[in-house]
Subunit: 223 residues, 2 copies
């Protein structure tokens, strides 16, 4: 893992990460080599590996940094909005806006689906990062008055997190001008979600609740 102790070395770490991001932006993640990155940071290759476990780890460090930098704005969004729709629009919109200049780089992050891979968004290694992200969805749900059966509501934050992941994935590979298709997808799915929440309060949808709850329990486990 990354070792941070004295602020002295912290500066080197920062320099390497900054150099990496520059090279990634200029040449793309795949084309960028660790030798280039090290050279750009003015150190030997070994030094890069002293601070970062792997080339991918550099991208992960970028994401951690992003999380730190976005947190205040996400807080603001949470307190400024009150419906779940507004909040989702705000949170996810903010992330897309923040990552826009490094859209391709985010692709390197979402590239690993295997939960066994340390850099997968589903791995135990990334659990802290994921949970921090999840917490925003938990608050977005908790503090808005949603009427949903108890067998489903507890899973909602995780479902919304997954929704976000899917949307980001679509966005990363969306080659339409200005990623306009993602915009449409975002808009229309939010609208459908609002309708679904409304419909869920009507009797005809009741029969879906039980199997839906069971399904979620099967996927995520108890509680």
């Amino acid at each position: 893992m990354t070792r941070r102790t004295v602020p002295k070395s912290e500066e080197t770490r920062r320099r390497i990460l900054a150099a990496a991001l520059t090279v990634f932006r200029e040449r793309g993640f795949q084309n960028a080599t660790m030798r280039e990155i090290a050279a750009a940071a003015g150190v030997a290759v070994g030094a890069a590996y002293y601070y970062f476990d792997s080339k991918d780890a550099l991208v992960m460090a970028f994401y951690e940094q992003a999380q730190d930098e976005m947190a205040p704005e996400l807080e603001r969004i949470l307190s400024a909005s009150h419906t779940i729709e507004q909040r989702l629009r705000g949170i996810i919109g903010q992330k897309l806006a923040y990552f826009a200049p490094n859209r391709a780089l985010v692709g390197a992050l979402t590239a690993h689906i295997d939960p066994a891979h340390p850099l997968s968004p589903f791995s135990t290694a990334t659990a802290p990062i994921r949970n921090r992200d999840l917490a925003f969805f938990e608050r977005a749900v908790a503090e808005s008055k949603l009427r949903l059966p108890a067998s489903i509501l507890p899973y909602l934050p995780r479902l919304l997190w997954l929704y976000q992941m899917g949307l980001v994935l679509f966005w990363v590979y969306d080659c339409s001008p200005q990623q306009g298709r993602t915009g449409m997808l975002f808009d229309k799915t939010l609208r459908m979600m609002r309708m679904a929440f409304k419909l869920a309060e009507l009797p005809p949808l009741r029969p879906l609740f039980r199997p839906a709850g069971e399904l979620l329990r099967a996927i995520y486990g108890e509680v």
Copy 2:
């Protein structure tokens, strides 16, 4: 790409593929090296690359072979069942059963999400393979009498294909004994699907149709 001309070289190709699958099974896809594979096939590394573009291409060849071998059974399933539920259960169930001995290897196939990557299930390079797979879902839908609005029905085969992809992905990384959780997921989602199709015929769900149709058009494009 792979060059097949005279039946003579076809045998070599087959031998290399067979050797690759053996080595993959014995040592895992990642740990297996092209040098090992070539040695196991009794040829030089270069020969392996003469017949296959890359290490991943070997896995793709395995999938193509699987598609060929499964086709008759899928045909049989289509003609033996008539409800969409039975057909999905049959088709997807058959695939899981077929791939079971090489479950880990399928992981190497589903590892690339990037549609630009030639081996991604979403790439243009794999379009023929994908379309062949899609055709079964098209027939499964067409020949069963489903009552769905015209704005949604055309997308159903693609949605079901995606459902299959998701299920297979879950299965690949399902470490529960005997992949029991996938079994539950499969069962419960099919049941929910049946209910959803039924509910879709009732008036209260109508308001979801229009936005749903628009959403699908936004994702997949016209028609």
